[in-house]
């Protein structure tokens, strides 16, 4: 695990929201999903995941309810709310702007070099 890249700061909330866009998931499912989808590149630390979920709950971007899993275990499922969808849109736009900006800086540096 040592060489895995750190999650970019500020992106965890966005990733969680994006993951929940497809389907309601429990905490473990969210972590798994992010790992799988990113081809094991991105790992969500459990230490950050649960505080982040509480934060999202508090903002009203997700809501939580206890449901049964396919294996008949009780688990807490998080669902994206309408406000969460809007927030995801905002964050995605911001992120894309930032990526584009970083890209421009990098290209400029290359050309100069």
């Amino acid at each position: 695990m040592a060489n895995k890249p750190e999650l970019m700061p500020g992106t965890l909330d966005m990733l969680i929201l994006q993951t929940l866009k497809r389907a309601p998931l429990h905490g473990y499912g969210i972590a798994q999903s992010i790992r799988r989808v990113s081809d094991e590149v991105l790992t969500v630390e459990e230490g950050s995941l649960y505080p982040a979920l509480q934060r999202l709950l508090l903002q009203g971007w997700v809501k939580a309810e206890w449901k049964m899993t396919e294996t008949n275990r009780r688990a807490r499922f998080y669902t994206l709310t309408a406000a969460g969808k809007k927030q995801l849109g905002i964050e995605l736009t911001k992120f894309e702007q930032m990526v584009a900006a970083i890209g421009r800086v990098l290209r400029a540096a290359e050309e100069a070099g």
Binding site: H26, G27, Y28, A31, Q32, E45, E46, G47, Y50, P51, Q54, R55, L57, L58, Q59, G60, W61, W66, R73, R74, A75, R76, A83
Partner: protein, 882 residues
């Protein structure tokens, strides 16, 4: 989501705290299980998988805390700090109790004193808009605040343009007949609008109506609330009843409200309209009234004063004979009533404030010592991940907790102290200012206590923080919190002790100066023998004794009755007893001297022949005293005092000179036949005034004092005297029985002086104890920090006495600096309270030396204990212990 919604959700979570924790735990457990299952799928044993999952998952508690932090309020960690702080304090109850007691003492005392200051300064008078009510008086070159004559009052009332109303008052005394006994009651005579000007509404009945104060007006009276309760049982049908005042029937028309008070006539039991003009009120030159006015809107005291001066100047032109040099003097009524109490209250407040400073300094240094001994704990907590902010907050919480507890205890203490002070307050003082009734714990005092507590908690919270911030936690840990031994702190602690000692010196010196001043006051030269003299006052009703000849007939009867009492050696009569006031004066003119209408004011006393030589044992300087022959059938003569002889007859023999009134009326002329050494007629701290004595047989009074010299116990004689005079005639009012010694001891000045000395003395003693304890603590701490150094010194051959000296020197230096600074400040403080001192100067050497010696002695004693401990250090143990 808006902030409101977020906050609301937090609040909901706060109450669903249990559910939140359970949910989170279950959720995380589920997470771990899933991880373990996954690992099992990769080929681990269930046990290995569980452990691996746990390891990967990390510190559950920490995670739970972080989730909590997200949803929790900041206040919750504060609550945590609070719980921890309480635990810390409970672990160390000695420290907590000491600190809280000190704070309670400091906050309680200053709050209690503030209660009085607040009552005196902010809500002094129970009137409507009291800051619009002014005291109006006539001024002369000698007398800045003098009485008005009735004629002047009527003109001032008519001619002024700045007052919406102006009303006069004066004192009066009546004999109230109840059953078979006549009791003298103090009363007030006022003009019709007096209560309206003050803005007072009657509790019952009605006010005086316009015009009822004219000569020949109705005989009506308004009762004070207390009198209504006492004499009429608080019955509503008291209104309309008739009372007999000195033989005249008066109808009661109204009752004043309970909170009414009028300090210039504080003891008035009832009020009547001015009504008929007596002999004095028919003359413009006879001044017997004071006045109160209400300022018109937008008018200042200065404007009103200028206006009144204009009126006075106009009258001076119109009536030069009586009104020459007469001006007007206006001030706020509240200034007149409480002005003299202000410096006293401020001084006491300053004293209490200083005590508070000491208490805070002491608690702060206690906290410092504790933070020093907790450096390791802090270092460990820091190493385990507590952020500096969190640590600082912890210490601040502890400081705050102490301050809040101290403040709470302080408010309780203040309540107790106010009750105590009210009980101790001299009767005269309590009777005078009306505000004292309302002193207590209420909004203002609580706010003050809160503000003090806030400052105190700020100080207490900041001291350890200051201390921590300046120390690197890691060095503390590696050094084992030992060698650096807080040189900074020792200096800070030492500085605090110096402050405490300085303040203690100031308080001690203040109390010392007041004490000495009190002693001087009580031992002032009275000019007569104050022992074995009993006195009482007699008032004869006009109806039974209408003429001066009738009053004169009373003297021999009373004298023979009293002479028959056992032990009585002499009985005498006087218009005014000594040590009362420099009042009851007369304006004189000396025959054969140039005269331009100056007001030569002298005291005037009517006395019987035995009064000066036998009862008071006054010293005759030249000439003769009075004899029984000096009565109405013989020409008037006078005996003057030394001050008068020096002032009006410098370098010549006054005997045989003649004195008269301003016009040298033949009827007023009298010859000086004797000069006596000064008898103190005024208050002990007043300068002696020129005084003229007349024979009471020449001009009898209907209200006079009886003075008796006895061989036995004068106090035991008083009731006998009262009984003996009452037997003569039940119509006579007999009151004010007191021994001369009591009267001097209880003079207003002496009482107020004694009260102040007592309070400031108590403050000083507390300050002494606190500062000495503080010094002891600092030195003891320093010894504990230097144990190793002392061990080394002793191992290298230092004698125990040398160690002893080492510590004493340190303590001595602190005490020396504190005392030196304190003495400097004490002279300054003494200068500020100069007006309150009598016969003592601010730099009174013996007082200052005494204070320095007392404090130095105690400081030595306080440092002796730790010094002894230091000298007893076992070098082997000291070196090995660390």
């Amino acid at each position: 989501m808006n902030a409101m919604g977020r906050w609301w959700r937090k609040v909901k979570l706060l109450f669903g705290r249990e559910t939140f924790a359970v949910d989170l735990d279950e959720e995380m457990a589920f997470h771990r299980e899933q991880m373990a299952k996954e690992l099992e799928g990769e080929g681990m044993t269930p046990e290995q998988a569980r452990v691996a999952a746990m390891r990967q998952f990390g510190n559950t508690t920490r995670m739970r805390e972080r989730s909590h932090e997200v949803v929790g309020f900041r206040a919750e960690t504060v609550a945590q700090d609070m719980r921890f702080a309480v635990r810390q304090l409970r672990k160390n109850p000695g420290f907590a109790v000491t600190a809280i007691l000190m704070l309670a003492l400091g906050i309680g005392t200053s709050t209690a004193i503030f209660g009085f200051v607040d009552a005196a300064m902010l809500e002094p008078l129970p009137y409507t808009q009291p800051n619009r009510v002014v005291d109006v008086a006539a001024s002369t070159p000698v007398f800045p605040r003098g009485n008005l004559s009735r004629a002047d009052f009527e003109d001032w009332q008519r001619m002024n343009k700045t007052l919406s109303s102006l009303d006069a008052y004066t004192g009066a005394g009546y004999l109230l007949r109840i059953g078979s006994v006549s009791q003298p009651v103090p009363a007030g005579r006022v003009s019709d609008g007096f209560f309206g000007t003050l803005g007072v509404r009657m509790e019952l009945g009605r006010d005086f109506r316009p015009g009822e104060d004219k000569p020949g007006g109705p005989k009506i009276a308004i009762l004070s609330y207390g009198t209504w309760l006492k004499r009429f049982g608080g019955r509503r049908d008291g209104i309309g009843q008739t009372v007999s005042l000195s033989g005249d029937p008066y109808a009661i028309v109204g009752v004043l409200p309970q909170n009414f008070s009028f300090a210039p006539r504080a003891n008035a039991e009832l009020w009547v309209p001015l009504g008929d003009k007596g002999e004095c009120e028919n003359r413009r030159s006879c001044h017997n009234l004071f006045a109160v006015g209400r300022l018109r809107d937008g008018v200042t005291v200065e404007m009103a004063q200028a206006d009144m001066k204009r009126v006075a100047a106009q009258l001076a032109i119109q009536y030069p004979g009586s009104n020459q040099d007469q001006g007007a003097e206006l001030q706020l009524l509240s200034e007149l009533i409480i002005g003299h109490a202000r410096p006293i209250l401020l001084m006491l407040l300053a004293g209490a404030g200083l005590l508070l400073v000491i208490a805070c300094a002491n608690v702060a240094s206690l906290l410092l010592v504790r933070s020093e001994s907790r450096r390791r704990e802090v270092a460990v907590r820091g190493a385990l991940g507590a952020t500096p902010v969190r640590l600082v907050r912890q210490f601040m919480t502890e400081g705050l907790l102490l301050a809040v507890a101290g403040c709470g205890a302080g408010v309780l203490t203040a309540g107790g102290m106010i009750a105590l002070l009210k009980a101790l307050m001299p009767q005269l003082m309590a009777q005078g200012p009306p505000f004292l009734r309302d002193v207590g714990i209420h909004v203002h005092t609580l706010l003050f206590a809160g503000a003090v507590a806030l400052v105190a908690s700020g100080l207490l919270a900041l001291t350890p923080v200051l201390r921590l911030a300046l120390k690197d936690i890691h060095t503390a840990l590696s050094e084992g919190g030992r060698t650096a031994a807080g040189r900074f702190w020792r200096r800070l602690g030492a500085n605090l002790v110096v402050v405490e000692l300085t303040v203690a010196v100031v308080l001690l010196a203040g109390a010392g100066l007041l004490g000495k001043s009190l002693y001087r006051l009580l031992h002032v030269q009275m000019g007569f023998d104050t022992t074995h003299v009993a006195t009482l006052q007699v008032m004869s009703p006009d109806k039974v004794y209408p003429k001066p000849e009738d009053w004169a007939r009373l003297y021999p009867v009373i004298k023979s009755r009293l002479m028959s009492l056992p032990g009585v050696q002499a009985v005498a009569f006087t218009s005014d007893l000594p040590v009362q006031c420099n009042c009851d004066t007369d304006w004189i003119r000396i025959e054969g001297r140039p005269f331009h209408g100056e007001h030569n004011e002298v005291l005037q006393r009517d006395v019987s022949p035995e009064y000066l030589p036998t009862v008071l044992k006054a010293r005759l300087i030249e000439g003769r005293m009075f004899t029984d022959m000096d009565d109405m059938k013989h020409p008037q003569v006078t005996v003057i005092n030394e001050t008068m002889a020096k002032k009006y007859f410098p370098g010549e023999d006054p005997l045989g000179r003649r004195i008269g009134n301003g016009k040298l009326d033949p009827k007023s002329m009298r010859e000086v036949v004797g000069v006596i050494a000064d008898i103190r007629e005024g208050a002990p701290d007043d300068d002696p005034w020129p005084a003229e004595y007349f024979s009471i047989y020449h001009g009898p009074d209907d209200n006079f004092a009886v003075a008796v010299r006895t061989a036995g116990d004068e106090e035991a004689l008083l009731p006998e005297m009262v009984k003996a005079v009452r037997v003569i005639d039940a119509n006579l009012g007999v009151y004010g029985e007191v021994t001369m010694a009591q009267q001097i001891d209880n003079s207003a000045t002496a009482m107020i002086h004694r009260f102040m000395t007592m309070l400031l003395g108590a403050f000083a003693v507390m300050a002494l104890v606190l500062s000495v304890v503080g010094l002891c603590g600092v030195v003891a701490y320093s010894v504990s920090q230097r144990t190793r150094e002392i061990g080394v010194r002793m191992a290298l051959g230092a004698q125990r006495s040398a160690v002893h000296r080492l510590i004493l020197k340190e303590a001595g230096l602190l005490a020396g600096i504190g005392i030196a600074l304190g003495l400097g400040c004490a002279v300054g403080a003494g200068t500020m309270m100069k007006s309150m001192l009598f016969g003592v100067r601010a730099w009174d050497l013996s007082t200052l030396a005494g204070v320095a010696a007392v404090l130095g002695g105690f400081a030595l004693l306080a440092s002796f204990i730790p010094a002894r401990r230091a000298a007893r250090v076992n070098p082997v143990e000291a070196l090995r212990a660390e």
